[in-house]
Amino acid sequence: MSGLEELYKEIIIDHYRSPRNKGELPPPATRTEGFNPLCGDEIVIYIDVDSNGVLSDIKIGGQGCSISQSSASMMSAAVKGKTVAEAQEIIGGFKAMMSVHGDALGDPASEATAEPEVDLGDLEALKGVVKFPVRIKCATLSWNTLTQAIDEATA
């Protein structure tokens, strides 16, 4: 089971069992849905961006596997209270860790931020996912949805 333990680190299972920032935000929060058409996972991200460009609140809804749910949970903890620019740096850092670059995500703008030195903290636990290519989409679903939510909120 060593391969599995490398993938399913304790912290991943913890975030899966007790997801952080689960729920909804009322309007005028931005609500964005993301789908993984391969497995049917659905995610809903609610964000509030205040007048100072700070991502003041984030809530996550939807269903998914342990990888997608823990990734979303850790992401919400990592970006909450950060400025949009800081959040985007974390997104870039995470996508770089997943070895996925802008084009693959349909977001050419993130190409420039592909290899930043960002401290990802707990999120480093998801590094093992790279060895299971099929699961990368699980890990990145919430991040792509957040990118879209930020675009919508700051448009």
Partner: protein, 419 residues
């Protein structure tokens, strides 16, 4: 071999069958490969690979074009395959067999060709909630264009089709398109009764037989169907070929689907005259080697006998339902009819609080191949209230050892996520 105790028919020798499938002899991480994803795509025996190889090495040319001997052999091989497929499903004429890219294309063909010619705004098309997206989306696309209504037949708690209000749903409907066997629940539908009800209501029927034709005897005339579709790769044949069968008078009256070479009698600057069936619906170079491979797959299945195939799968499904429930316990939900004879060998599994993707990941560590996800049947999944299941699907080469390995791997998944 422990599996041999399940063999009810003396002619159904699984150990011998497994030797015909080279891919199944491989070892993954020191474990025997347990292939339980034939509902998505089956494996193919050496005889199918050899038939395609033989065509390419001895008799390959384009079909219905050249006059040289090699081309004639290729054309004959392609048309022989059509005849074999026709006979396999009890079609009155080989000309009623249209080769397509897959079953999805076959349904799109009917929707575009028959649908455009026969459906109007205000009409109704009836589907079931159990349909694969392939038998939903083509009708939705057409409905968006034409403006007809789509009505849905529901299922009951045991996963059987709820036909209590079928007459109401069929009232005024022009088309009833339904599955012969659910790819998620394994539910078999009473195709004969459904076709009779549709006929009474004046609706044309299309049966998605992708999950049934590979697994049990099929007789399109006895069913009373107007169209049926299925794919080659789920019945030991290659990918890239599907089949549409339709009643000759319906096919004759339908306009062509794709335009191009091979589907015409004549072309002038002013227009074209389409060929008759089946050529009218086979524009461009068809999947020639794939058809030959499908013909060889039909030969292989005939050799086993479709009654025997069905018998094997019913007994293995019964064993699986029993073993999985006993071994894994209450945390496991198996969707679909509880009675093995009412279903095919498709087991959609849910392990409490463990997502199907995670189950499948643990199963892969045990070299057990299942499919996680929504199985291209999102309306059904929504109806069941699940967003994903892990689906194990059985075929001729599966035995009780495979089921035991699945049960053991599910226990490991349960324990790993400690539920």
């Amino acid at each position: 071999m422990k599996g041999s105790i399940m063999t009810s028919s003396p002619t159904f020798d699984i150990a011998k069958i497994r030797k015909d499938f080279p891919i199944l002899s491989q070892i993954q991480d020191g474990k025997r490969l347990v292939y339980l994803d034939s509902g998505a795509s089956s494996q193919r025996p050496t005889s199918v690979l050899d038939a395609m190889d033989h065509l390419y090495t001895h008799s390959y040319a384009n079909v219905h074009r050249g006059v040289y001997q090699v081309a004639e052999r290729a054309t004959n091989a392609y048309e022989d395959a059509r005849s074999k497929v026709a006979k396999f499903i009890g079609a009155p004429s080989a000309n009623e067999i249209i080769f397509t890219k897959n079953a999805t294309e076959a349904i799109n063909l009917v929707a575009h060709s028959w649908g455009r010619a026969n459906l109007q705004s205000g009409d109704a098309v009836v589907l079931t909630i159990m349909e694969h997206h392939a038998n939903i989306v083509p009708w939705q696309m057409l409905a968006a264009e034409i403006g007809f209504e789509i009505r849905w037949v529901a299922i009951d708690e045991d996963g059987m089709l709820d036909t209590s209000n079928l007459d109401v749903l069929l009232d005024g409907a022009k088309m009833f398109a339904f599955t012969a066997m659910s790819n998620v629940l394994g539910t078999l539908t009473d195709t004969k009764a459904l076709c009779a009800a549709a006929q009474k209501a004046g609706a044309v029927t299309l049966i998605d037989a992708c999950q049934s034709v590979p697994h049990m005897p099929t007789d399109v005339v006895d069913m009373g169907a107007d169209f049926i579709v299925f794919s080659g790769h789920k019945m030991l044949g290659p990918s890239g070929i599907g089949v549409l069968w339709g009643r000759a008078e319906l096919l004759d009256a339908m306009p062509p689907f794709l335009g191009g070479g091979g589907m015409i009698l004549n072309v002038t600057k002013d227009g074209f005259t389409p060929d008759g069936v089946p050529g009218k619906f086979e524009a461009g170079t068809p999947p020639i080697a794939e058809a030959v491979g499908l013909g060889a797959a039909v030969d292989y299945l005939n050799e086993l006998g479709m009654e025997a195939v069905r018998e094997h799968e019913v007994s293995l499904t019964a064993y699986a339902l029993r073993t999985l429930t006993e071994t894994v316990g209450e945390t496991l939900t198996i969707y679909g009819p509880s009675e093995p004879a009412a279903r095919g060998g498709v087991l959609s599994l849910e392990l409490a609080d463990v997502h199907a993707h995670d189950i499948s990941q643990v199963l892969d560590e045990h070299a057990v191949c299942v499919r996680p996800g929504h199985h291209c049947a999102k309306p059904l999944m929504r109806h069941l209230g699940v967003n994903a299941t892990a689906r194990a699907s059985l075929y001729i080469y599966n035995d009780t050892d495979d089921i035991d390995a699945l049960a053991e791997a599910l226990v490991q998944a349960r324990d790993f996520f400690s539920i």
